[in-house]
Amino acid sequence: MKDDVILRTITKFMLPFIQIFAFYTLAHGEISPGGGFQAGVIFGSSFILIALVFGKKEARSKMPRSVNDVLISTGDFIYAFTGLFCIFAGGFFLEYGELPFHSAKEGNHIGMIIIELGVAITVAAVMMTIFFEIAGKEDD
C-alpha cells in the first residue's frame, strides 16, 4: 500500500482532522457522548492508520517505543496523582470538588477533564502498543 498515491495523500490530509476530532471528543466528554477512552482510541487509531499506509517503520519513527512506554505511565500518573491530590486538598480520593479552584463546580469541571486527559493518553499509547506488538514481525 506504500505506493498507493491516493491513499497516501488522503491519509496525510485526514490525519490532522482525526487528531483534532480526538481532542474534541475528549473536551466534550463531560456533557455528551465521548470522553477520555474514546478520544484515546481515536488518537491511537490515527497512528495505526499511519502504520497501515506508510508501514510500521514510519509509524515507529513518529512514535518511538520509548516515548510510547513513557506515555502509558504518564497518563496513568496524571490520573493517580489527581486522585491523590484530592486527598491532600482535604477531600476523598477523586473528589474533584475539593480541588483548589474557585468553586466546587469549577473543580469538578477541571478535575474531570484532567482525569479524562490522563485516560486518553494512556489509552492512545496502549492502543499503539497493542497494535505494534500484535502486528509482530511481518513488515509490509
Partner: protein
C-alpha cells in the same frame, strides 16, 4: 407461546449469541476462532445489559432541553457506563489473547490447539524461550 418468545426477544437474542460464542470456544480448535467465540459471547452480555437499560418511551441519556417538553424520559444510563467498562476489559482480553496467539505461532508454527499439543507431546522443550 409465540408471545412469550416475542416479548422477551432481547433475552433470546442474547441467549442465541451466547450459545454461538460458547460453541466456538468449546468446539473450535483454531485459537483465533476461539477468541472470536469469546468476543461473541461477551457481546451477548453487552447486548443484554443495554437491553435491560431501556425505559419504555425513553430516549438516549444525554441531557437536552427540547422546547415544549417539560419532562423528558431517559433510558437508564448506568448499564451503558458499566458496559463501556466491560467493553474496555473485553478489548484488553482480546488484545492479550491475540498477543499470545502471535507468540504461539512463532514458537510452534501453528495456531490449532490440537496440533500444538501434539507438537509439545512429541518434542517437549523445557527451556525454549
Amino acid at each position: 407461546m409465540i408471545e412469550f418468545i416475542a416479548d422477551k426477544y432481547n433475552f433470546w437474542i442474547a441467549i442465541v449469541l451466547m450459545m454461538i460464542g460458547f460453541y466456538a470456544i468449546i468446539a473450535k480448535h483454531n485459537l483465533v476462532k476461539k477468541v472470536i467465540g469469546l468476543n461473541i459471547f461477551q457481546t451477548s452480555v453487552f447486548l443484554f445489559y443495554i437491553s435491560i437499560s431501556k425505559v419504555n418511551g425513553g430516549t438516549a441519556p444525554i441531557i437536552w432541553h427540547p422546547e415544549g417538553h417539560a419532562e423528558v424520559v431517559y433510558d437508564n444510563p448506568l448499564p451503558h457506563v458499566l458496559i463501556l467498562t466491560a467493553i474496555v476489559v473485553s478489548v484488553s482480553v482480546t488484545a492479550v489473547a491475540l498477543g499470545i496467539i502471535v507468540k504461539l505461532y512463532k514458537n510452534y508454527g501453528s495456531i490449532e490447539d490440537d496440533e500444538i499439543k501434539l507438537i509439545e507431546h512429541n518434542e517437549p522443550e523445557l527451556d525454549s524461550k
